[in-house]
């Protein structure tokens, strides 16, 4: 039965990974632009390098269970991205994938999201308001969890609400002074700029939603 769910979800998961890779590639310049203003102008290149490698390695694992696929995505990101976003986007998947041994269910997806957020905060020693991807993830994960667990909404609706929340998180980074990441080196000069990592996190969530909706 649990094999069933892996079989069933695999095409969607693979499609989602491809969609994310496409989106990251098409936003590469924009992400780099954001990183030029308060970082070192490589966020777009870093993620593109990572997700292109993921796409290339997908074939080798396309028969694996969901958790193994997600874990492999993490491993590939770790060994191809580098910088801050490598461990933050890759290492987190390694840990969070452990929640997916039975594939994505309403329950496991909440656990996955929570584990992912916890790992980002832990790895990056970052909290909300530090002007990082944590600002996008936190409201998104909170909204998703509440929509499922309290409001008992279907996962798709919950995800849509989470994306809305994530969008606000991205906007929220603009007026903040960066406390973590390269932007923190700029001190007050970081105020008024949108965080690149917060932005790429939103794009990923948007793609997950788009694929889930089809």
């Amino acid at each position: 039965m649990s094999e069933d769910i892996h079989e069933r979800q695999r095409p969607v998961v693979l499609e989602a990974i491809n969609a994310v890779a496409d989106r990251i590639e098409s936003e590469q310049d924009h992400l780099t632009e954001l990183d030029s203003a308060i970082g070192d102008a490589d966020h777009g290149a870093n993620l593109t390098r990572g997700f292109s490698s993921v796409r290339e390695e997908l074939e080798e694992i396309e028969d694996e269970p969901i958790d193994a696929i997600v874990k492999e995505v993490g491993t590939t990101l770790i060994s191809n991205v580098g910088g801050a976003s490598g461990p933050l986007y890759g290492g987190t998947l390694l840990t969070a994938s452990q929640e997916l041994t039975d594939g994505f269910t309403a329950e496991s997806s909440v656990a996955f999201a929570e584990a992912y957020l916890a790992k980002v905060k832990d790895r990056g020693d970052a909290t909300v308001g530090d002007k990082t991807m944590v600002d996008t993830l936190t409201p998104a994960v909170h909204t998703y969890k509440k929509s499922i667990e309290e409001d008992e909404l279907p996962p798709l609706t919950a995800l849509a609400k989470a994306v809305d929340a994530a969008e606000r998180g991205v906007e929220y980074t603009v007026p903040l002074k960066a406390m973590k990441g390269r932007a923190s080196f700029l001190g007050w000069r970081s105020v008024g700029h949108q965080d690149p990592g917060a932005t790429s996190t939103l794009y990923i969530l948007e793609e997950l939603l788009a694929v889930a909706e089809t």
């Binding site: 290149a45 910088g83 801050a84 490598g86 461990p87 390269r182």
Partner: protein, 335 residues
């Protein structure tokens, strides 16, 4: 902006090859990685490694050799190497006495080195990490990433390399590294942004009469933009800020680096050095040694940084000890 490159995607790969073909008897490349190690390890010596983004040449691999580093990992331009490359690096440089990683403070580097250390310990390689955070321009607090690691790292490499060469244990070597870290400060400035091979244009725009103060080494803007300053004002300002942070007592001896960011003529660095030395003198400090040149760069950025390290007999001995690397050599007999 024109560059002497082929395909920007192969920039780091080709650079690493170019280093090996320049120094085939000194450097070895670990297959399928951007990890360079010295030709052969010294048995019984603690391994000294470092790594970080590329674009800072001669940092990092330029300091591989007798009396300094055993190996270095090159990330993409301005991007920390990945954890698995750092793990390979640590394993390649271990002779059983453990490996000291010199990390420049930035979460990307720290997180990847952390992961690498965990991976290496699985293979029974003991890895210690010291984190250099010498950039006094950056506000330091418990709630931020803290200060960047920049050119003061060269002094750290020199000290830990000498200590390891002298037979120091992993713990002792790490301790002298921490000692340098506690006593060193740096501040930098830029006349122009650098141009990364990937982007091909300047990372930040600067008006003809503007400069950036408090820059790092990744083409990021500084902490402040001001009107153009003279070499004397620049040298004085940077040195004063570093001294403000270090607050050394009158009569203290100091070692100094006037570092070029890659696109600055050496002559200009010497002109800046005058102001650096008079500022030190005004504070009644005693310059024990000065290094002027491109030690840790930011590609082709025009600008400079000033590093000051207060030294005692132990550090002087370590700094003056012999070293033989492509980018830094000490005869070790006449200092």
């Amino acid at each position: 902006m024109q560059k002497l490159i082929n395909d920007p995607d192969n920039y780091v790969d080709e650079m690493v090859d170019g280093m090996v073909s320049a120094y085939p008897e000194r450097l070895t490349r670990v297959d399928d990685t951007k990890v360079l190690t010295r030709d052969s390890l010294i048995d019984g010596k603690v391994g000294i490694v470092t790594g970080g983004g590329s674009g800072h040449e001669p940092t990092h691999a330029g300091y591989i050799g007798d009396g300094m580093l055993d190996g270095a990992a090159a990330g993409e331009v301005f991007t920390s190497p990945t954890a698995d490359e750092l793990d390979t690096l640590a394993q390649a440089c271990d002779t059983g006495e453990g490996v000291l990683c010199v990390v420049k403070n930035y979460e990307g580097d720290v997180m990847n080195f952390d992961t690498a250390a965990e991976m290496a310990e699985i293979e029974d390689v003991t890895v210690e990490q010291i984190v250099v955070d010498d950039d006094v321009a950056v506000e330091d607090s418990l709630y931020t990433s803290g200060r960047r690691g920049v050119c003061g790292t060269i002094f750290v490499h020199k000290a830990v390399g000498a200590k390891a060469a002298a037979g120091g244990s992993l713990e002792e070597v790490a301790a002298v590294g921490e000692k340098v870290i506690d006593n060193v400060g740096t501040m930098g400035m830029a006349l122009t942004s650098c141009v990364t091979p990937a982007k091909g244009e300047e990372t930040f725009d600067l008006g003809e009469d503007e400069i950036e103060l408090g820059i790092g080494i990744h083409g990021e803007p500084g902490t402040e933009r001001t009107d153009q300053l003279s070499a004397e004002e620049v040298g004085t300002h940077l040195t004063e800020n570093v001294l403000d942070d270090l607050d050394p007592a009158a009569g203290t001896e100091v070692a100094v680096i006037v570092n070029g960011m890659g696109g600055t003529p050496l002559s200009e660095l010497f002109i800046v050095n005058n102001a650096v030395q008079s500022t030190l003198e005004a504070h009644e400090l005693d310059t024990w040694e000065t290094m002027v040149g491109d030690y840790m760069t930011s590609l082709d950025m025009r600008g400079c940084s000033v590093t000051v390290c207060t030294v005692d007999d132990e550090l002087k001995e370590l700094f003056a000890a012999p070293a033989d690397t492509p980018a830094l050599t000490r005869a070790g007999d006449d200092e």
